[in-house]
Structures are given as C-alpha cells and as structure tokens.
Point group: D3
Chain length 135, copies 6
C-alpha cells in the first residue's frame, strides 16, 4: 500500500503543508503504531487535503480555528500554525483567526491559541535567522 | 451606548454577515437578556468582524470549522453556514470545510455538520431550485 | 441500600433542589437502569450536595455555569435552572451566570443557555403571569 | 475507487455492524457530499474496523463509550448502540458501558446515553416484546 | 480607546479580581496581539464583571466551575482560583465547587481541578508565609 | 465510613485495576480533599467497577476510549492504560482502541492517545526490567 498513488500523494501533501513537523509526527509513530502513520498520510493528506474545491490556505485557516476552539490538542495546533504559514497565511491572518475564536469558544481558548502562535512564530524567527530580534 | 459608532458598526456587520438570521437572534434575546444582544452586536461584530487583517470569507470559514468541530451549537452553526454563503463562500467550499473536520474532530462531527449544511442549502432554495426535488 | 441514611438524605436533597423535575429523571430510569437512579440519588445528592462548606445556592450557580459551558447536556441544564430557582437564585442571577459563560465558553454556549433559561422561566409561569410581556 | 477491495471490505463491514442504520447514513449523504460517504465506507469501515487485533464487540464498546462521553453526537450514538447489539453485545453490557461514563464524563452524559439506549432498545422491539408495554 | 471609561473600569476590575496574575496575561499579549489584551480588559472585565445583579464571589464560583468542567484551560483555571480567593472565597469553598464538578463533568475533570487548586494554595501559602515577596 | 464494606470493596478494586498508580492519586488528595479520595474509592470503584454484567477488561477498554476521545485528561488516560494492561488487555488491543478514536474524535485525539500509550509501555518496560531495550 505504501507504493500506492494515494500514499504518495499524501506524503507529498504532508511535506508541503507540515514540512519537517509532519515528518516528526510520522517518525514518532514508528515504534507504537506504524499503520496509523500510514492512515494519517493516506486519509487526511492523500484524500482530504488533496481535494479540489478549497485552497490549502483556507483549509489551514479552518484547522487552526478548530484546534484553537477544541483546546485539547496543543501539539497539533502548533503543527498547523506552522502549516498555515507554510501554505501562505501571514502571521497577522493567523492571529486574527485565533482571536476570532474568543467569540465562539471563549477567551481562554483564544489565549492559549495566541500563546501557541507566539511560540511558533518565535521558533521560525530563530530558524529563519531574522537577526533582528523581532517577535 | 446603542448610539455609539461601535454599536452601529456591529449592527451593519451583523446585517451583512448573518442577514435576517442574525436579527432573529437579537430579537429572541429581547425579553430575556437585552444587554446580551447589545454585547453580541458590539464585541463579535463591532470589534472582531470589523477588524482588518482577515477577509470576511476567511472569518466565516474559521467559524464554520470551529462550530462543526465543537459539535454542541447546532443553531449557531446553521446561522454561520448562512453567513458563509452571504459573504461569498460557495456551497462546495462549505462542504469541503466541514468534511475536513472529520480529520480533526471525528466523523460524527463532520456528519452532523454536513446535515446542517444540507438543511441550510435547502432553506435557501439552492437545492430545491435544481428542479429535481432530490433533497 | 434504599433504606440507608445516605439514600434517604439524597432523596430529600433531590426533592428540595430539583423538585418534580428530579423525580421525573428518577422515574425515567426505572425500566432501563434502576441502579443508576439509586447511584444518582446517593452520590450526587446524598454525598456531594449534602456536604457543608458551600451553600446550595452557590452549588447551583456552579452547576448552571458548568452545564452552560459544556453545552452538551440541554435537559440537565434546564433541570438545574429550575434547581437554582428552587434554592433561592433570582432569574436575574441565573441570567448573569449564563451571560458570564460567553467569556469562558463562547457566545454560542451562552446563547443556548439563555434560551434554555427563557424556556424554564416561561414554564414556571413567571413570564406569562406578568401579563406585560416583559421579563 | 468504489470497485476497490478496500471499498468493498468497508461496505461489508458497515452492513455487518450498522445494518440498515449505516445504509441510511450513506443514503443521506448522496445529495450533499457523496465523496464523504465513500470516505466513511473506506477509512472507518474498510481500514479501521477491518483490522485484526481487537474484536468487533470490543470496538463497539469503545465507540459507545466515547460517543456517550463526548455527548455531542446523539444520532451516531444511537447508530452505534444498534451496532453494538448487532455484533453481540447484550443490552445489559451496553447499559454498563454507559453507566461507567458517569465516572469519566459526568452524570448528564451518562443519563443522555441511557435515554438513547432506551430509545434504541424500544425501536428494536426488545422492550416492547416483553409484553408489558412498560417503556 | 484605552482612555475610555469602559477600558479603565475593566482595568480596575481586572486588578481587583486577578491581581498580578491578570497583569501577567496582559503583558504576555503585548508582542503577539496587543489588541486582544484591550478586548480582554474591555469586554470580560469592563462589561461583564462590572455588571450589577451578581456578586463577584458568585461570578468566580461560576468561572472556576466552568473551567474545571471544560478541562482544557489549565492556566486560566489557576488564574481564576487565585481570583476566587481574591474576591472572598475560602479555600474550602473552592474545593467544594471543584468536587461538585465530578458529578457534572466526571472524576478526571474534578481531580485535575483539585490539583490546580493545590498548586495555587501552595503558591499563595509560600508568598504570604515567606514574607520576602518571592513567589 | 472507611470501614464500610463498600469502601473496602472499592479499595480492593482500585488496587487490582490501577495498582500503585491508583494509590498515588489517593495519596495526592490527602492534603487538599481527603473526602474526595474516599468518594473516588467508593463510587467509581466500590459501586461501578464492582458491578457484574461487564468484565473489567471491557470496562477499561471503554475508559481508555472515552479519555482518548475527550482529550482533556492526560494523567487519567495514562493511569487507565496501565489499568487496561493490569486487567488483561494486550498492548496491541490498547493501540487498536486508541486508533479507533481517530474516527470518532479526530486524528489529534488519537495521536495524543498513542503517545500516552507509548509512554506507559516504556514505563512498564523499564519497571519490569526487560533488559532488552525493546518497547
């Protein structure tokens, strides 16, 4: 199955969206549930993210919104804040999406989402060596 | 306070996004918590939806995603599926957003979101206008 | 066990807090899970509600807040709005508790809580008795 | 894809577990999101339920527990109470699973689960066949 | 806007309820979403907490209950356990509120709430006992 | 009350299911809410887990499923993964239960459940001194 077109399509999409964050998740499943890594590549990325009808940027906005609102999946929220930036969202757009969740899931959910974004923006600031100490 | 610029801005935004659905919510608060109707106009619509930095279509995608994922606010999900259509989302885009939630909140949440969308699309006559009575 | 002091204490407390609403819940369990009716009387009412250290009014404020915030137990929220009124909360206090949940669980949760309160207040005849349409 | 072994395996599993309830869900998706019906057959039923390593009865116990605890997917809970009975759970076992959720998700979640079970048992005629019309 | 009466009223209320914990939250938003800090002061504290009709102690009981039940906002729960103590709740009353949540949201939610309370009580015990101003 | 048959039955059941993990929870309540430790022993373990009608292995499958799906009680999920292993579940069965939750509560909930299982399996590997470094 790992040679299927669907698996390959999922792997490409995962790399495009989540970059090395996605690969880390896959790797971390290797010794506990390798089949689950395969499903994760195939269904969410090979099937859903590969569909036409909604651009990747809108898909990531939806995911950041949902994970902020649910408030019980902090690691995945951080992965998808990275993902949103990877597919073209600006930092400001992500902050706006998270702030909007104060209305629909309460201020604590939005606050925790903003602090996750702050961590992600800082990680990427370090990685991309902005060198100006901003953010 | 109801004459404030903020209240008026919220009222305009509410009308633009939620149309008559929004007004119904406001009206239904009149005899139980009229102040809450004012807050609803002022903070979500006067403050948050009125911010630059994210277009209304993306804001409604975020809200449809979050309410689908939370799964405990069916009336508000329907209002915001209307809202998403009002600000320019296509039916297909809304269906894609909701389907994506299967990955992040499970198939039951996505199914219930799709059935809400089906009701809203029917209410708006889009489906029944197809002339085949298939809904 | 149904003759135990703990069971009797729970039954008294249930009657005092939830009145006929509580008895209806107990009755509705008779043919599906009668033991669960017993646990419901013994643990929540015989143990928890019977503790000193927090007055019944504050306990009901806590319960109305939690059920509004969780948003997935509408029948129980209505029972406890009745309960809050039964132990001395005013309608205004209940409305304030529910409105406060907009901050902590979002506006949809608060809206659905307010509509539940509106139904309960109407059931109790407060609204229809006033004769002037105001709450 | 609908001719794939995976799709066919999913369809067989869906029929075995959910019976006509499952088919109704599939049918209801036909005019809103037919692709989602396909995913529902392929991933949950073709992939997950078809795995060795855990018997179907245990899988349905897990699902009834989770949906009772989440408390925001009443239609799917009812489908899976049917499913649990279809794959060999007794009514008593289902009642025990739901009662256990009082400990992990609270009494309201368990109560609403028990009332869902009561409806399902009645639909299947088990209770009404007792001949005393007591439900 | 920061000079408005509403903002000032919110700032005063925030200081009274959350003390230095609240200021820390405001400060931590400065470089990610300063507007959100303003909304947090204005809507929850300037509008909601400033309303008559429910005393501050009851409002904090409601918030501690809701955040314990939701179980997905540990930092905010700790801030509001501080807040409850700041506006006159006793440690015993807070423990009773949290224990009550075992009934409505399950034992795990109550346990995690009790452990949060234990941390807060210890932090305050250290502060007030040490006399050296260190936390 | 601590000498009651119910308390003793609960204590025995707790020891059988949760082993030293359960005792740690009880101990950690001693200085914050000792009565809650008693309730925890009496109601969940003395009443619910002690009921006939569902074997302990199925009860733990239900609990691992529910806590994975809820996603907001990581410490308790780990205790019950231990518990499931203690009453006869295999590591594979637990992994299957958690993977199944991807369908009902989303991939993030399942991923976080799998990582919790990975930690528990490693802890037990260390404790039982397998000496081969295998998971």
């Amino acid at each position: 199955m790992k040679n299927s077109e669907r698996y390959q399509r999922g792997l490409d999409k995962l790399a495009k969206i989540d970059g090395e964050q996605g690969q880390k998740v896959i790797d971390s499943l290797a010794d506990i549930a390798p089949d689950f890594a395969q499903y994760l590549i195939e269904f969410p990325f090979g099937d859903i993210y590969s569909r036409p009808g909604l651009d990747l940027k809108s898909r990531e906005i939806a995911v950041v919104a949902a994970l902020t609102a649910l408030g019980n999946a902090a690691p995945q929220l951080k992965v998808h804040i990275h993902g949103a930036l990877n597919v073209g969202c600006t930092e400001q757009e992500i902050v706006e999406v998270i702030m909007q969740m104060a209305v629909y899931a309460g201020f604590p959910a939005a606050l925790n989402g903003l602090f996750a974004a702050k961590e992600v923006f800082a990680e990427r600031g370090k990685v991309s060596n902005r060198g100006d100490g901003s953010l």
